[in-house]
């Protein structure tokens, strides 16, 4: 059985190498990858979408349906984790294994009581607001520089994790009020569905954005709504995943 595994690896390596060796050389600007769809996006993307960051343009406008499904995937991850039975928390806290001897002598067995280092706590609290502003800046500038809904969501998620680590999960959980959670976590798919519907009414195609110059502001508003939906929804989902896994 062990040999079977190794053989699988070797076979996979050989197959991949054979297949990949045949690809057109990458890095050249005239490879088929660069002359077809991508080239058109690069050429007309700025004019058609009003976004200078074409990755964001592809994500939100040209392939918005992909992003919708992506939002759904992360939403279903949350639902999946919530759907699983809660692990036996009691056992995972003070289970069969003894806490390390050093802890017993200094703080006693109540491991949760070990306070967080004030230095770390202070630094995280100091950085916290700046991280938040940075995440918002990343969201706001997503169409002109790297960043955008998901990156912003992930930075917010990381901020939440850091705060939960130093301030305890109860205080961190207050950032996402319990009553609002169910709404906020659904914000990603819902904003897409809603804006997609608006686009359907306006342009006749689901997730279409009005192309006329007169509707510029409307288009902007729609894109911003979707971006905020992605960012807030994603951040809330990541925070809840963290809380669920923390047990």
């Amino acid at each position: 059985m062990r040999w079977l595994g190794l053989a699988l690896v070797v076979v996979a390596a050989a197959t991949l190498m054979l297949g990949v060796a045949d690809l057109p050389p990458h890095g050249a600007h005239d490879a088929p990858v660069h002359t077809h769809v991508g080239a058109r996006y690069l050429e007309r993307g700025v004019a058609e979408t009003g976004m200078r960051n074409l990755v964001t343009a592809v994500l939100l406008v040209y392939r918005g349906f992909d992003t919708f499904l992506e939002v759904v995937v992360i939403f279903s991850a949350l639902v999946a984790v919530v759907a699983l039975p809660r692990g036996r928390a009691a056992r995972s806290r003070d289970g069969d294994d003894q806490p390390p001897a050093a802890l017993l002598t200094r703080e006693g067995p109540a491991q949760e009581r070990i306070s967080v280092s004030p230095v770390v706590a202070f630094v995280v609290q100091l950085l916290g607001p700046f991280i938040a502003v940075f995440a918002l800046a990343s969201l706001y500038r997503g169409h002109v520089s790297p960043g955008g809904g998901f990156q912003s969501a992930a930075i917010f998620g990381a901020l939440f994790i850091a705060l939960a680590l130093v301030q305890g999960r109860e205080r961190a959980a207050r950032l996402v009020p319990r009553g609002a959670r169910v709404w906020l976590q659904a914000l990603g798919p819902l904003s897409f569905a809603l804006i997609g519907g608006v686009g359907w009414v306006l342009t006749g195609a689901f997730l279409g954005y009005p192309a006329e110059a007169a509707a510029y502001a409307l288009r902007e508003a729609m894109v911003v709504a979707v971006e905020i939906g992605i960012a807030v929804g994603g951040a809330v989902i990541l925070a809840q995943l963290f809380m669920a896994m923390e047990g």
């Binding site: 289970g95 050093a102 990343s138 790297p146 990156q151």
Partner: protein, 92 residues
């Protein structure tokens, strides 16, 4: 100038190999995390170097996120270690 920056980046990568060795041999878990963190700082500098080499300021945003996350991972790991959350053989 640019060549100097490239050279610096290459030197940093070479140092990262040495740190990686430390991360591999340990001995204690904190040593490993420290080594990983040090590699992280070097990679952060490399990111900034790459941004300058390419000549786009927006590339430095990546380094900022990277620095933040490097910090947060380390804090998370140490926090879990010091509260004794990792069972069966804490490093002592």
């Amino acid at each position: 100038m640019i060549t100097l920056f490239w050279a610096a980046a290459v030197a940093l990568l070479l140092m990262a190999f040495a740190c990686l060795w430390r991360a591999d041999v340990g001995p204690s878990i904190q040593d490993r995390i420290l080594a990983v963190n040090v590699v992280g700082v070097k990679a952060l500098v490399v990111l900034a170097l790459l941004g300058i080499i390419r000549g786009h300021a927006f590339l430095i945003d990546v380094a900022l996120v990277y620095g933040l996350l490097n910090f947060i991972i380390t804090i998370a790991a140490t926090r879990l270690i010091e509260t004794g959350r990792f069972r069966s053989g804490a490093s002592s």
